[in-house]
Symmetry: C2
Subunit: 449 residues, 2 copies
């Protein structure tokens, strides 16, 4: 098995990951003279800022994602392959993926991050992460099933576990999901479950650090905290979660909080590639790169976006924040730099233009900060809506998301409250078993290309 892409006389740029960075890079390499190969484990680009709305039953996965093949329809010299990259062989300019191997002239790693459980296998098994639409759909289904179960379970203890929601991690995702679930508690629960007082539901937001939204200003942190407290969220700061046992979240200070809805959005770590030398990996599991996003010690291997850490930008000696804008700007510059390289020109170093950051807590409530301006409340919320609507790919998705928002705003309703799991066909289960047993680099031993 191979990726089955004919080599032509063009240089081949293989991009691993079609998030904000990889997608921008692939777009900017249009008509550049490169053969572009995009590899992603999903067949679609997803829009992480709205994943929490999928989890809360306000948005469909298909409204915030876009199939790669559709994005790149009619694009010449472009190939998409759905696969996971397992191993890189820099000396052979070759990668091994779950569906075979492929050669490259330039390799760009843009696979982003995965949820960080800080080595706690037990929490990893029990907690619900929310890093992609698949996990968000799983969380939606679990939330709704827990509410149904709470009506009919045998004991008050179990009912309390089913109704309590614990969110670990006070970053943007944590406050966004806490906010939207508190709205669900207030506006949906009393109507859907009239025989179950919504006051029984308690929402906890636990943060190990001293404040929410550590990546933003103290002012924004305080506003977000104030908004959430007004909305009835129990905020615990400076509290570290160390375990989850018998349907209880255990804090370092011994406190226990009963819950069966244990949401983990406490941090991320760079996606790892099987054989990468540990010396190349920096803080947060991120691949160390130079000012041109080149992986240290390699000529033609690059990393961009959340997956890399670059400490050459004067204003960001500890690396850039892991934000969409960094990935987009790095993808944009790298496209130019690859073209320059081919022309025998010098590459240009990366400098991040900070376009600001924002987070939304609920209807009419958000915090936003730009280079000189800070905003809170309604205006920040409108800004948030506009910025995110503009960023979503595709006219159809923009329309659908906007209509959803308008509908949800006026009805106070998260209307997609169906518990649906796609039935996995035997053909697919069989194939996954085979792929899972494809060992690292195994294929390279065989003769076939």
């Amino acid at each position: 098995m191979s990726l089955n892409i004919a080599k032509n006389n063009k240089k081949r740029a293989v991009i691993v990951g079609g998030g904000f960075g990889g997608l921008k890079l692939a777009n900017k390499l249009k008509k550049s003279g490169f053969q572009v190969v995009l590899i992603d484990k999903n067949n679609y680009h997803q829009f992480p800022p709205l994943i929490y709305q999928v989890a809360s039953a306000g948005m469909e996965p298909t409204s915030i994602s876009f199939p790669f093949r559709k994005i790149f329809q009619h694009r010449k010299d472009f190939y998409f392959r759905m696969a996971e990259v397992r191993v890189i062989f820099p000396e052979k300019n070759m990668i091994q993926t779950s569906i075979g191997k492929a050669e490259y002239d330039y390799l760009v790693l843009a696979a982003g991050t995965t949820t960080n459980f800080f080595g706690n296998k037990h929490i990893e098994e029990e907690a619900m992460p929310m890093k992609n639409v698949s996990e968000a759909m799983g969380l939606r289904n679990a939330l709704l099933a827990n509410l149904e179960r709470a009506l009919t379970c045998s004991t008050k203890q179990e009912q309390q576990e089913l109704l309590n929601i614990v969110i670990v991690g006070g970053g943007a995702t944590g406050i966004e999901v806490a906010g939207i679930l508190s709205e669900m508690k207030r506006f949906v629960l009393p109507n859907d479950y009239p025989d179950m007082p919504s006051s029984l539901m308690h929402i906890y937001l636990i943060e190990a650090g001293p404040r929410l939204l550590a990546g933003m200003s103290e002012d924004s942190s305080l506003h977000a905290e104030k908004f959430l407290r007004e909305m009835g969220v129990n905020i615990l700061l400076n509290k570290r979660v160390i375990d989850y046992r018998d349907h209880k979240v255990i804090l370092e200070d011994g406190t226990e909080i009963a819950t069966r809805t244990f949401i983990w959005v406490s941090g991320v770590t760079g996606v790892t590639i099987g054989n990468m030398n540990p010396s190349l990996i920096g803080r947060g599991g991120r691949i160390k790169v130079d000012q041109f996003n080149r992986v240290e010690g390699m000529d033609n291997v690059f990393a961009i976006g959340d997956q890399c850490i670059q400490s050459t930008d004067e204003s960001y000696p500890n690396g850039h924040p892991q934000l969409a804008q960094v990935a987009i700007q790095q993808g944009e510059l790298l496209a130019k730099n690859l073209i320059r390289l081919e022309k025998g020109q010098e590459m240009k170093p990366f400098h991040y233009r900070n376009l600001g950051s924002m987070a939304t807590v609920g209807r009419n409530r958000a915090v936003a900060e730009f280079s000189k301006v800070k905003m809170q409340g309604w205006l920040a919320w409108v800004m948030w809506l506009v910025v995110h609507l503009r960023s979503i790919l595709g006219v159809r998705n923009k329309v659908v998301v906007l209509l959803n928002w308008i509908w949800n705003y006026f009805t106070y309703d998260q209307s997609m409250r169906m518990i649906v799991y796609a039935r996995k066909a035997k053909e697919i289960r069989d194939r996954e078993k085979v792929e899972a047993t494809t060992h690292l680099g195994q294929d390279l031993l065989s003769e076939d290309q």
Copy 2:
């Protein structure tokens, strides 16, 4: 564990299944003086006529379904419980469900049908049914994954298996899915997979009987067949599928068709309740009922819709066709009859008013027949759209479905081509294991109610 519904001084009507029949019945019992309990294994009503559009990536599950709790918001004396009914104890007026037991004064079985594999366990394991949104999402994911795989698999043989699609069953669902997949082959495949000739894909529609759409007139059958042949579908009539082995569908005459997309829409059988006496079950696994939809030999147990068979209607001595309209009309009449019973009045017998039937083959192509009129082509197609749009529950869904249709019509695109499986949380997996081991009637042995 119990269903946890307080008994009051009202008579309790328990309805099992919230499809067309059960939902109509529950609606018509509003303000009737009954306490209504609706039990369904899903927390939403679904709209079967559009499930094939979910499978073909043209529609979201949430656009063609509606949460029961939302339908019945603010309804007095109404209870929804998500559960499966396992056993009926008529002498105790009690049912045992997956979440405990409940008493009833009247019990109405409206659980519909399930896919009929005619006892072939092997086909049951390998084939993809398409009876609900979960299966439709599974089929969508498998279809898309097979196309991705076809690009990179090792052999021409495997590629052909991945590209061939075999649909078994020439009823309305079979022709609808054959039609929409042939449109996908024509309009989507060449754009999404420019390096894979769409002529490699072959779509087979296999029917054991002598014609398609056996439930409609010969005229409609011939038109449907003609439309599908024009669209490039290979139609095999009078061919019986007996097995699926080594990625091949095996016909009775020895013919083998290679495929890894083996869709089974060949028939249905009534949903079975654990301890029901076989003498009560008629043709097609349907529960035998009298002219009032009362289960034979029981006073206060009824069955309506696809799950029952009624041979007392003069024009339908072999039972009614399994259509939405029959279920709706039976639900409507049964509501009146239950109210009559409570008033000490005689019940009225059921007579089906045939409002016609229709099936769509593709854009601008459908067949429809009403008592005196038969239509084909564009006019029938428009009728089909209007009738189905009117029948979908909820303003939001109507708007979303209409916009989707308009979008798909003008773009020739089934745009939801993302492969997404909801990640199943450990809490839910654990609970399912426990429920699966709840034996039939086990709870009744214990003392707790």
